[in-house]
């Protein structure tokens, strides 16, 4: 069933967030986010760069302070009982974080012990996690000498060691090769099947479609919708025909579902082929740069709800990030 915005459930949720707000100076990062994740559930936190995903994950993990709002993990207030909460959390931050001068096993030992595991319990668990992520052969190798994909797997594995109640993965597959990505997603699914709640932040639309999880779409610090991939697509996504012109968009005589964005004419239509047959004779071929049909997908959901293309938003928000960093 599709959940409406602002409908976080308090009952039985491993993670419960209500009215979470955070600003960096004048820049609003989170504007009152409500969210919940239950045991065994994978929730993909999807949004372009700068949408507020990392800020949200960082606040839940206790790395940043919220301006206001409630965060509970297993019913415990994340602010006042942060140590107990962190014991229940496994975090793989956005940037790969490993000690390069010691072995993979020694990295595992450190973070396993810090998570509260005994050395005796850690040894078999390291073998288990290493096998799941195809790291067994690498355990005694210096972490700094691994390939990028191998480092990414070790980085994520460190968050899984203590079988956390809540797994927070922030852009876990960024820069990962296909094999690494597949393995990571498999392990995430298995962990959820074993009862962990997973909050999986990503800006890859295709990855969320593959994961088949619940999706929370975040845009400019606001949850704009939540639901399963299929239900979101059927509820919000109608195919869109996009015609890009060399110069100004000509008047093609269509009303209603047509909108103009710079040199792009967007036509929301249930039948893209019929629309093209109707529209193309009305425009000069030499003025037309490209024609694209945006099929029903999360991309189209984002377009329908946020009013802009996902990849454009990603680029815009990256630019905004750069300006904020520079200022």
């Amino acid at each position: 069933m599709m959940k409406t915005v602002g409908s976080a459930r308090q009952d039985g949720g491993v993670l419960y967030i209500e009215g979470l707000r955070k600003s960096y100076g004048d820049v609003l990062a989170l504007g009152g986010v409500d969210l919940d994740v239950r045991a065994g559930e994978i929730v993909a936190l999807l949004g372009p760069n700068g949408a507020g995903k990392t800020t949200l994950v960082s606040i839940v993990a206790g790395l940043r302070r919220a301006d206001s709002g409630i965060v509970r993990v297993d019913g415990l207030n994340a602010l006042s009982r942060s140590s107990e909460v962190r014991r229940r959390i496994g975090l793989a931050p956005q940037d790969t974080g490993l000690y390069p001068v010691v072995t993979v096993r020694q990295n595992f030992m450190l973070f396993g012990e810090l998570a509260g595991m005994s050395r005796a319990a850690l040894r078999p668990r390291i073998d288990e996690v290493a096998e799941a992520l195809d790291l067994t052969e690498l355990l005694d190798r210096q972490a700094g000498k691994l390939s990028g994909g191998q480092k990414r797997r070790v980085h994520t594995a460190l968050a899984l060691l203590h079988s956390p109640r809540l797994l927070l993965l922030d852009e876990a597959t960024t820069g990962a090769d296909v094999e690494t990505r597949t393995r990571l997603l498999d392990v995430v699914r298995r962990l959820a099947a074993d009862g962990s709640a997973v909050l999986y932040s990503t800006h890859y639309l295709a990855e969320v479609e593959t994961l088949g999880s619940d999706v929370v779409l975040l845009d400019r610090g606001q949850v704009i919708v939540r639901g399963g991939v299929d239900e979101l697509i059927s509820a919000h996504a109608t195919p869109v025909v996009e015609l890009t012109f060399e110069g100004a968009v000509p008047d093609v005589g269509l009303n209603g579902e047509a909108s103009v964005d710079g040199q792009v004419l967007r036509l929301v239509t249930a039948d893209p082929a019929a629309t093209l047959v109707d529209v193309l004779p009305r425009v000069r071929a030499d003025a037309l740069q490209s024609v694209e049909i945006v099929r029903p997908s999360l991309e189209a959901v984002y377009l329908a709800l946020a009013g802009r293309r996902y990849d454009e938003a990603d680029r815009e928000d990256k630019r905004e990030d750069t300006n904020v960093s520079a200022s």
């Binding site: 993990a61 931050p93 490993l98 000690y99 020694q106 450190l110």
Partner: protein, 257 residues
């Protein structure tokens, strides 16, 4: 507080330290070379100060030991900046370990390195340079440990005040060097200009050198070095309080650049 966490970090920091022992070797070998080079020079000064039978190692060994121990100021901070550079700082903070656990686990290896370095130089001082300690060995050990703690606390303060690795290097190196020089580790206080001798008591290393001189040359025991020890503890507490006040665990530190 979660002592097992401190222990895990401490063990790990030793492992990282031993993965590149060049710093540890550097702070032992180079002072030995400098002692060999300067010993005779200091023999003349000590003779003028009334220690006619001194061979110079009585000042050169503790002086070089203290001067190079001052490098631990930067090393203590380096362990934090390095974690920011490796992306492991947020990982550590996301574990149940508290800020105090992390701090203890990271600083104690630096304290240990400094203690071992100082102790090794004193131990090697006898066979290599004929250093004779006339006073209490226990008093010597107390001075070594308290000095290491005090310098590491200063290192934490410098770390708290530095946002970038470059700042840490600048403040740590210059601060450590100044502390060693004005404290009388490079040049005996009696040979320093009046203004420098006047401000020397405001430097922890001055009290370390004073204590070492008492133990090595003046048959000093625990009670003789109690004053110097207490002053160094006072400095250590002051640095720790200031560091705890200024340290922001959530602030990003820039490893390079």
């Amino acid at each position: 507080m979660y002592p097992r966490a401190s222990l895990a970090v401490l063990r790990h920091e030793f492992r990282v330290m031993l993965s590149d022992p060049s710093t540890a070797i550097f702070v032992v070998i180079i002072p030995l070379v400098l002692v060999a080079l300067t010993k005779n020079l200091f023999a003349i000064q000590l003779s003028e100060d009334g220690f006619a039978s001194a061979n110079g190692s009585e000042f050169a060994v503790p002086g070089m030991a203290v001067a190079f121990a001052s490098f631990s100021v930067g090393y203590a901070g380096f362990t934090f900046f390095r974690d920011h550079g490796w992306g492991t700082w947020d990982r550590l903070r996301a574990t149940p370990a508290s800020s105090v656990d992390l701090m203890i686990g990271k600083v104690l290896p630096t304290v240990t390195l400094t203690v071992v370095q100082l102790a090794l130089l004193f131990l090697l001082g006898k066979p290599l340079f004929g250093l004779e300690v006339s006073g209490s060995i226990l008093a010597l050990i107390v001075l070594i440990v308290v000095l290491a703690l005090s310098l590491s606390a200063f290192g934490m303060l410098v770390t708290a005040l530095s946002r970038t690795m470059n700042q840490l290097n600048a403040i740590g190196s210059v601060g450590g060097m100044t502390m060693a020089m004005l404290g009388g580790a490079w040049v005996p206080i009696t040979a320093m200009p009046g203004w420098a001798a006047a401000i020397a008591p405001a430097i922890p290393t001055y009290w370390a050198m004073k204590g070492f001189q008492s133990v090595i040359l003046e048959d000093g025991g625990i009670t003789d070095v109690a004053g110097a020890t207490l002053v160094m503890i006072g400095f250590g507490v002051l640095f720790t309080v200031l560091a705890a006040w200024k340290f922001r665990f959530e602030d990003a530190k820039v490893y390079f650049g």
